[in-house]
Subunit: 314 residues, 2 copies
C-alpha cells in the first residue's frame, strides 16, 4: 500500500507542477493539496498489479480518476453549499461559485486528457462517470422527497459513491489485460467495499466517539439527512407505533435532540441491523478477492487497503 | 449546407430520443431543442467531406461538438446570471442552479462518450476544450479589471469562441485523414471566421438596425461590456483628449445614453476601424480556402456557410 501510494503521490505532484498559472488552475491545485487518502488511484494501481501489470504503466489513468473525483467534490460542494472540506474553505468559499464551476469543468477535461485514448478504458470511465452524475442527481432529488425507501437509498449510494471505486479498480485491471469475468469480480469487490464504507461512515456519525471522529455525534441525524440509519429507523418506528424520530424531524433542525434520536435508533435495533448489513457487504466484497486469489496472484495489498479503510471508520 | 444540416439534425434527434428520463437529462434535451444554427456540427461534417470523407461517418463527433457547445452555454448562463437564451428561460432559471451545474457536467461526459476513442481526434478535442475554459476564465477576469487591451480581448475571444469552430472543422478533417498542414489551414479558416463573426456581432449590437436584430441598439455599450468597440473607443478617446465614453461609464448603467456612446464611436472612427478589421479577418479566413481548393476538392459548401453567417450579422 505504501509503495502504490508513493507512486501515485509522485505522479500527482508532477502533474500539479505542470499546471499553468491562473485562476482556472489554482483551485485544482488547492483542492488536490488538501489531505486525502488517494484511495481511488491506489486502487487503480493495485487493480493493475493484481493482474500482472506494472503500477507505473497505469499512473496517468490513476491520477485521471483522482482528478475526476476532485472535480465531483468541487461541484458537489457548491450544490451542497458546504463552506468547509477537511476543515479548509471549499473552492467556492475561498474563490467564488463561478470560479468553482469553471475550474471544476476544466478539471473534468483534464481528467479525460490524462485518461488517454484506450477504447476499453474510456468506455469503462464514461459509463461510470455518467453513473456518478446520476447518483448526485438522485441525492438532490431525495432531499425534496418525504419518503425514500432503503432500496432507493442503496441505489443512490451505489451510483454516487461506490461505482467510482469499482471503476478505479477495473481500469487498472483492464490495462493489465484482465479477462472480463475477472474485471467483473474486481468491480464487484470495489462496489461492495464502497457501499460498506459509506454505511460504516453513517454508523460512525451516529454512534461514533466524538473525540475520535472530531465531529459532533448525530450531525447527520440533526440535519435530517436521509441516511440508511434514518430511513430504516423511520420504517421500524412506524411498525412499532412509535414516533420519536418523526417528532424530532418536525422540529427545526437547531431544536432537534440528536442524543434522543441516536437512542431511538439503538432501541429500534437499527444500529445492530446496520452492522449486520456492513458485514454482509464486506462478505460479498472479500468473497470476490477469495475467488481472485490463486497461484502467482495475491490480493494481499487490496486486503490491507480494505482493512485500513475499515479501521478508520470502525 | 442543407444536406449536412439535415444529417446533423437527424443524428442529434436520434441522440436526444435515446436519453433516459429524469432531471439529469431533461435540461439537455430542453437546451438542445431551442432554435440553433448548428454551425459547429455542420462544420465538422463539411470538414470531413472536404477531404474526401463521408459526412455520415463523422456524425457522432459532430453531435459531440454540439453537446460540448451546449454544455458551455448551460454553465456560462449560470456564471453570467442570464435569465434568457433565445427568448426562452435558461436552464438554471427554468430549473435551478444546481440542476444546471450537474446536467451540464453530465452533458460534458456525454460529449466525450460520443466523441469516441480515436487518439488524434481526442487530442484535438481535449486541447480545444481546455482553451474554451481558459477563454471563459479570461472573460470573467476581464470583468473585474479596469483596463483590457485590444490584444487581451482578441486573445480571450479567440479562446472562448473562435477555437471551437476550428476544432469542429479540424476533427472532421482529421477523420477524413487530412494531412497536418491541411488540418492547420482549415483550423485557421475556422478561427478567423469565428473572430470575424464575433466582431460583426459587436458591430451589429452598436450600429445595427433595432428592427432587424430584435435587440435594443447599444445594449452591450450601456452595460459597459468590454467589447472590441468599447476598448478601441476608450483608447482613441484618450488620444483625442475627449471623454464621452469615460463620462458615460462613470454613470450607473440605467442612466447611460447608448445613442451618445454609439455616436462617439462613430466620430472617433471606431466603426470604420472595426469594419476594416472584420474584412482583414475574413480575408485571412478565405485565403485558407483558396489554398485548399484544388482538383477534385471544393470549398464551395464552406463558402456558402460562411456567407450565410456574414449575411445574418451584416
Amino acid at each position: 500500500m505504501v509503495v502504490q501510494r508513493a507512486l501515485v503521490d509522485a505522479h500527482l505532484q508532477r502533474w500539479m507542477e505542470s499546471l499553468p498559472k491562473g485562476t482556472l488552475y489554482e483551485p485544482m491545485a488547492y483542492l488536490l493539496s488538501l489531505p486525502a487518502k488517494r484511495v481511488r488511484p491506489v486502487l487503480t494501481v493495485m487493480g493493475c498489479e493484481l493482474f500482472g501489470g506494472h503500477g507505473k504503466d497505469v499512473l496517468d489513468e490513476a491520477v485521471a480518476i483522482e482528478l475526476f473525483h476532485n472535480f465531483t467534490l468541487m461541484h458537489d460542494d457548491i450544490m451542497d453549499a458546504s463552506p468547509l472540506r477537511r476543515g479548509r474553505p471549499t473552492v467556492h468559499a475561498k474563490w467564488d461559485v463561478n470560479t468553482a464551476i469553471l475550474s471544476g469543468d476544466a478539471m473534468l477535461v483534464k481528467a479525460y486528457q490524462l485518461m488517454g485514448a484506450n477504447a476499453e478504458v474510456l468506455s469503462i470511465f464514461n459509463r461510470h462517470a455518467i453513473e456518478v452524475c446520476e447518483g448526485q442527481q438522485l441525492d438532490m432529488d431525495f432531499e425534496r422527497r418525504d419518503i425514500v425507501s432503503l432500496s432507493d437509498y442503496a441505489a443512490m449510494i451505489r451510483l454516487k459513491t461506490a461505482v467510482l471505486l469499482a471503476c478505479a479498480l477495473r481500469i487498472g485491471a483492464c490495462k493489465a489485460g484482465a479477462p472480463l469475468d475477472d474485471q467483473e469480480r474486481i468491480s464487484s469487490f470495489g462496489e461492495n467495499l464502497g457501499l460498506a464504507f459509506q454505511l460504516r461512515d453513517d454508523l460512525l456519525d451516529a454512534f461514533g466517539d466524538d473525540d475520535r471522529t472530531g465531529k459532533v455525534s448525530g450531525g447527520d441525524l440533526r440535519n435530517g439527512k436521509k441516511t440508511w440509519l434514518l430511513i430504516r429507523g423511520l420504517e421500524l418506528e412506524q411498525h412499532l407505533g412509535r414516533n420519536v424520530l418523526m417528532d424530532q424531524l418536525r422540529l427545526p433542525s437547531v431544536q432537534r435532540d440528536a442524543k434522543l434520536m441516536v437512542q431511538a435508533l439503538r432501541e429500534y435495533g437499527v444500529e445492530r441491523e446496520a452492522e449486520i448489513e456492513v458485514a454482509r457487504l464486506e462478505g460479498i466484497a472479500f468473497a470476490q478477492l477469495d475467488d481472485l486469489d490463486g497461484p502467482g496472484r495475491s490480493t494481499e495489498d487490496l486486503r490491507i487497503l480494505a482493512n485500513a479503510l475499515r479501521a478508520r471508520v470502525s
